[in-house]
C-alpha cells in the first residue's frame, strides 16, 4: 500500500499509528462500564486460555490414541474461543492490545480465570472431572450469553456454544463410563470429584462487576446458572454412581486475580518467549 499523506508528512509514522490504536492511552477506570466489560470478557477468555493450555499438555501422553486426538480437538476449540474473547476484550479496552498481547504479556494478577481451570492435570480422571465441572457451567453460560445486549458477545457465544455442546456431551459421558467402569476407575473418579468440587462453586459467586454486567444485560448473573449446573451434575453423578461431596464450600479469588501457586508456573511456561524476546515477531 502506498504511504498516505500523513505517513509521509509525519516524522514518526509508527508513533502515530500506535496512537491511533490507542497505545499509551490511560488504563480504563475501575468501575467504568468499559472496565467492567473488559473484565467480564477477560474472565471468559482467560478461562478458555488457561484450560486450553492445561488440556494441550496432554498431547502425546493420553491413555489411548483416539483420546489423544479428542483432547487436542478440545484444546483447539478452547484456544480458538480465547482468540475471540480476548480479541474483543482488547477492542473494548482500546489501548492497542490484541489477544496475544493480553495472553502473553499480562501479569498473573491481571488474569481473571476461575481457580478450577488452573488446577494441574493430575491423572486422566482429574483432567476429565475438571473438564466436566467446567463444561457444566460453560454450556449454560454461553447459552445465556447468546442473549447478551451486545451483539458481538452474542455472536461469539453462539459459535462457541456449538463447540461446547459437544464438550459437555463428551465429558459427561466419560464421567459416567469411568464412574461406572472398574473398581479402580470408579475410585479414581470419586477421588477426582472430591479434589475438585471445592473449585466448582467460584463461577457462580458474583462480585460487583458481575452484578453491573448483569444489570446492563451484557452477561448473565453468575448465580442464575447454578440451577442448570446442579441439575446436570446431579444427573451425571447419579448415573456414574459418584457421590457428590456434602459441602459446597468454594475456593475463590481467581476471578479477581488472586490465583493459586500453580498459575505462576503455567504463565512462566506460556509467556516465556514473548517475555524473553519482547521485540521479536513470531
Amino acid at each position: 500500500m502506498a504511504p498516505s499523506l500523513s505517513d509521509v508528512m509525519t516524522p514518526d509514522a509508527a508513533a502515530l499509528a500506535a496512537a491511533q490504536k490507542g497505545e499509551g492511552r490511560a488504563p480504563l477506570k475501575a468501575g467504568s462500564p468499559e472496565h467492567d466489560l473488559f473484565t467480564g470478557l477477560t474472565r471468559l477468555g482467560d478461562n478458555c486460555l488457561i484450560l486450553g493450555h492445561r488440556v494441550s499438555e496432554w498431547c502425546g501422553h493420553a491413555p489411548v490414541l483416539e483420546e489423544d486426538i479428542a483432547l487436542a480437538n478440545m484444546a483447539l476449540d478452547l484456544i480458538g474461543q480465547t482468540q475471540l474473547w480476548l480479541g474483543l476484550a482488547g477492542e473494548v479496552e482500546g489501548r492497542g492490545r490484541d489477544a496475544d498481547a493480553l495472553a502473553f504479556r499480562r501479569d498473573g494478577w491481571d488474569f481473571h480465570n476461575i481457580l478450577l481451570v488452573e488446577r494441574p492435570n493430575g491423572d486422566f480422571g482429574q483432567t476429565l472431572m475438571r473438564q466436566f465441572l467446567f463444561d457444566a457451567w460453560h454450556a449454560p453460560m454461553l447459552k445465556a450469553l447468546e442473549g447478551s445486549s451486545d451483539d458481538r458477545i452474542a455472536a461469539i457465544a453462539q459459535k462457541a456454544g456449538k463447540e461446547v455442546a459437544y464438550h459437555i456431551e463428551r465429558s459427561a459421558d466419560l464421567v459416567i463410563r469411568l464412574g461406572d467402569g472398574t473398581e479402580e476407575s470408579h475410585a479414581r473418579m470419586q477421588a477426582a470429584l472430591e479434589a475438585l468440587w471445592g473449585y466448582a462453586g467460584e463461577a457462580f459467586i458474583a462480585d460487583a462487576v458481575d452484578t453491573r454486567l448483569a444489570e446492563a444485560g451484557l452477561m448473565p448473573a453468575p448465580e442464575s446458572l447454578r440451577a442448570t449446573f446442579d441439575e446436570t451434575v446431579n444427573a451425571v453423578f447419579a448415573e456414574a454412581a459418584l457421590t457428590r461431596p456434602e459441602s459446597d464450600f468454594a475456593h475463590k479469588g481467581g476471578k479477581q486475580g488472586r490465583h493459586s501457586e500453580h498459575m505462576g508456573h503455567l504463565l512462566t511456561d506460556m509467556q516465556w518467549l514473548q517475555r524473553a524476546y519482547p521485540d521479536a515477531k513470531w
Partner: protein, 325 residues
C-alpha cells in the same frame, strides 16, 4: 526415513505361488489383506508399517515439547493441530498393520520393550522455538520425500493410509518453513536460533533416509515387492537438492563446507552424516532415547485404568441390554 533399516524377511514358499504373487505386483495390482501373500512379505510389512506408526507417535514428543511455550495463540493452535495429526497418522498406520494379523496393543508392547524401533530423528531434542520450524521444514520435508511414492506401494491398506497421510501432511512442511522464516528474518537472537536449529537438524535429517543401500539384499527384495519405492541414496539426493535453495532463500547456511553444485550429475555433492552416530542412536544412545521411551511407557501404563474402565463399562452396558431383552 520413518522406517529405517527394515530387514526384509526371507521367504520359502511354493515357487509357483511366489511367481504369481510377483506377477500381480509387477502388473501394478494392490495386494489386499485376505489375498495370499508370502510370509516374508507379511512380516516385512508389519515391521515397516509398525516402525512407521511408532515414529509418528514418538514423533509427537519433540514437537509436543513446545506446545505450552508457543509464542502466539495462532502458533499454539497450529502446532497442536500438527502434533494431533501425527497421532492420527500413527492411528491410520497401526490400523493398516492390524490388517496383517497383529494387534495395536501387541505393536505397542513391542515398541515399549525395545523389540521394535522408530526413526532415529526423534531421539534428538528440540531446544529452541526455531527447532519447531526446523522439524517441520527438514524432518517433515524428508518424510514427505518417502511418503509420496509410498502412496503407490503394493499393499492396499498401507497405500490408502499413505494417501490420507500425504493429503493431511501438506501443511506440515509449509508451517515449519513459515515459522523458521519468521525467525531467520527476525531479531539477531531469532536468526541465531534459526541457524543453530539448522546446524543441529541437518545431519540427523540426512540420516533419516538410512545408510546407503546400493548393495543391500533387503532393499532389493523390498523394492521388488514395491514396499520400498526408491533407494535411500536417491531420496537423500533429492532432499538435499530441494533443501539447499530453500536455505539460501532464508539466508541460512547449511553446515557442510563440502556442499557444492555438481553440474555433471545435476545435483549437489554433500558430506555424509556420521554413520557411527546413527548406529549409536539406533542402539539407544541418542540424546533422548531414554526420555522418549519413558514418556511413551508412562502414558501407556498410566492410561491402562482408563482403557480398562471404558471397556468394562461397555461390557456392563451390553449385558444390561441383554438382560433387559
Amino acid at each position: 526415513m520413518y522406517a529405517q533399516m527394515v530387514k526384509s524377511e526371507a521367504t520359502d514358499e511354493d515357487p509357483a505361488k511366489l511367481a504369481a504373487f510377483q506377477a500381480r505386483i509387477d502388473a501394478g495390482e494392490r495386494i489386499e489383506p485376505k489375498d495370499w501373500m508370502p510370509e516374508g512379505y507379511r512380516k516385512t510389512l508389519i515391521r515397516q508399517i509398525g516402525q512407521h506408526a511408532h515414529s509418528e507417535i514418538v514423533g509427537q514428543l519433540p514437537e509436543g515439547n513446545w506446545i505450552t511455550r508457543a509464542p502466539t495463540l495462532e502458533r499454539k493452535a497450529i502446532l497442536l493441530a500438527k502434533v494431533q495429526d501425527e497421532a492420527g497418522h500413527g492411528l491410520y498406520l497401526y490400523c493398516a498393520a492390524e490388517t496383517l494379523g497383529i494387534s495395536r496393543d501387541e505393536l505397542t508392547e513391542q515398541l515399549l520393550s525395545g523389540k521394535m524401533k522408530y526413526s532415529s530423528i526423534f531421539n534428538y531434542p528440540t531446544l529452541s522455538w526455531a527447532d519447531i520450524g526446523a522439524v517441520g521444514w527438514l524432518v517433515d520435508g524428508a518424510a514427505i520425500m518417502n511418503q509420496v511414492p509410498l502412496q503407490r506401494t503394493s499393499f492396499g491398506p498401507y497405500s490408502r493410509a499413505m494417501i490420507r497421510i500425504c493429503k493431511e501432511e501438506s501443511f506440515h512442511q509449509r508451517q515449519g518453513y513459515d515459522l523458521i522464516r519468521k525467525m531467520a528474518e527476525g531479531t539477531p537472537e531469532q536468526k541465531a536460533m534459526a541457524q543453530d536449529a539448522l546446524n543441529r537438524f541437518w545431519y540427523p535429517s540426512l540420516m533419516m533416509f538410512g545408510p546407503s543401500d546400493k548393495d543391500s539384499v533387503h532393499s532389493t527384495q523390498s523394492m521388488a515387492w514395491k514396499i520400498k519405492i526408491n533407494t535411500n541414496d536417491e531420496l537423500r539426493q533429492k532432499f538435499v537438492d530441494q533443501t539447499v535453495p530453500q536455505a539460501e532463500f532464508l539466508g541460512l547456511t547449511i553446515p557442510d563446507e563440502h556442499l557444492k553444485w555438481n553440474e555433471d550429475k545435476g545435483g549437489y555433492d554433500f558430506s555424509e552424516p556420521d554413520w557411527n552416530e546413527f548406529y549409536e542412536v539406533l542402539k539407544g544412545n541418542g540424546p533422548c532415547n531414554a526420555d522418549r521411551m519413558e514418556a511413551r511407557t508412562r502414558a501407556w501404563r498410566d492410561g491402562e485404568w482408563v482403557r480398562d474402565g471404558l471397556m468394562a463399562h461397555a461390557r456392563k452396558q451390553t449385558s444390561r441390554r441383554v438382560a433387559a431383552e
